[in-house]
Symmetry: C2
Subunit: 146 residues, 2 copies
DNA sequence: ATAATCGTAGACAAATCGAATCTACAATTA
DNA sequence: TAATTGTAGATTCGATTTGTCTACGATTAT
């Protein structure tokens, strides 16, 4: 069980957008270059964030991606669930449902465990990290902010 | 991101063993039949639990699997980590490490979130579930306990 | 001893999923 | 109208998961 690389790309892109000047649109190219990933692939991931209402996109000459909500309203969980989905991490499976009609006891424990993690990720906002981003990222942001 | 089916099988098998009479060895066949999985495949999973020191196995006529620790010393986390491993759920990736030499900020948040879930799973013991297992499983246990 | 029983190990195969590329297309702006 | 930029779909590649099959080794009952 692993978080996908797509989630990694999504989180770093969002940190980038949160750290960038408010309201500014940034194209996929610099976002992708920053993370050493292909623009089309990153675009596919960011489209999921658009559909989740976290960011907005505009085509055209000075288009790109920008935040669709206020910076302090974006949690880790929002981003992760936009990419990974919201299904439970643990499924009991048909072979076991037959034995546990009223709901699998194990599954309910696993669901509560998952909930612990999700509640923490809901509390954590990217904005709390921006004043600690390192020089390499800041350099990218400054260059693009012009 | 999903827990594997193997983890599901492992947890249910362990619940079975915890609910069974103490010290009794139970063969793979009934354990596998109970979960509608092939005996050889389940055996492969249970071997991981043996290597983790959670259960012990004995070959031969009345052999099988039995608990290797006291019932109240077996947590969900023990079983899950025996099957899934102990690696972090989130890796920052080489493309990002280049930018975050001193340690990825995002990764540290993710690690803390994972720790929330793991601490809960460490607290949860299978023994707390046995007096609530349903009739179908109890029927299997009773039949096998003779 | 010897045969039946049972777990183990390894090779192997199928199916699923993640990661990524490529191409054509649609929308916006200069 | 042309350049720019995001979008969608098909497709490929590889890794991982989920099994199966078979031969082997250890134990016990007769």
């Amino acid at each position: 069980m692993k978080f996908s690389k797509a989630t990694n790309y999504a989180l770093h892109t969002m940190l980038y957008l949160v750290a960038a000047p408010a309201g500014k649109s940034i194209g996929v190219r610099p976002l992708a270059e920053f993370q050493n990933v292909s623009p089309t692939y990153l675009s596919k991931i960011l489209t999921q964030l658009v559909k989740a209402g976290l960011i907005a996109s505009t085509p055209g000459v000075h288009g790109g991606y920008r935040l669709a909500k206020s910076k302090d309203a974006i949690s880790f969980l929002d981003i992760i669930q936009a990419v990974e989905g919201t299904a439970s991490l643990f499924e009991c499976g048909p072979g076991h449902d037959a034995g546990f009609h009223e709901g699998c006891l194990i599954r309910s424990v696993m669901a509560r465990a998952e909930d612990r993690m999700e509640r923490y990720l809901q509390e954590q906002k990217l904005i709390d990290l921006v004043d600690r981003v390192d020089g390499h990222m800041l350099e990218f942001i400054r260059r693009e902010a012009q």
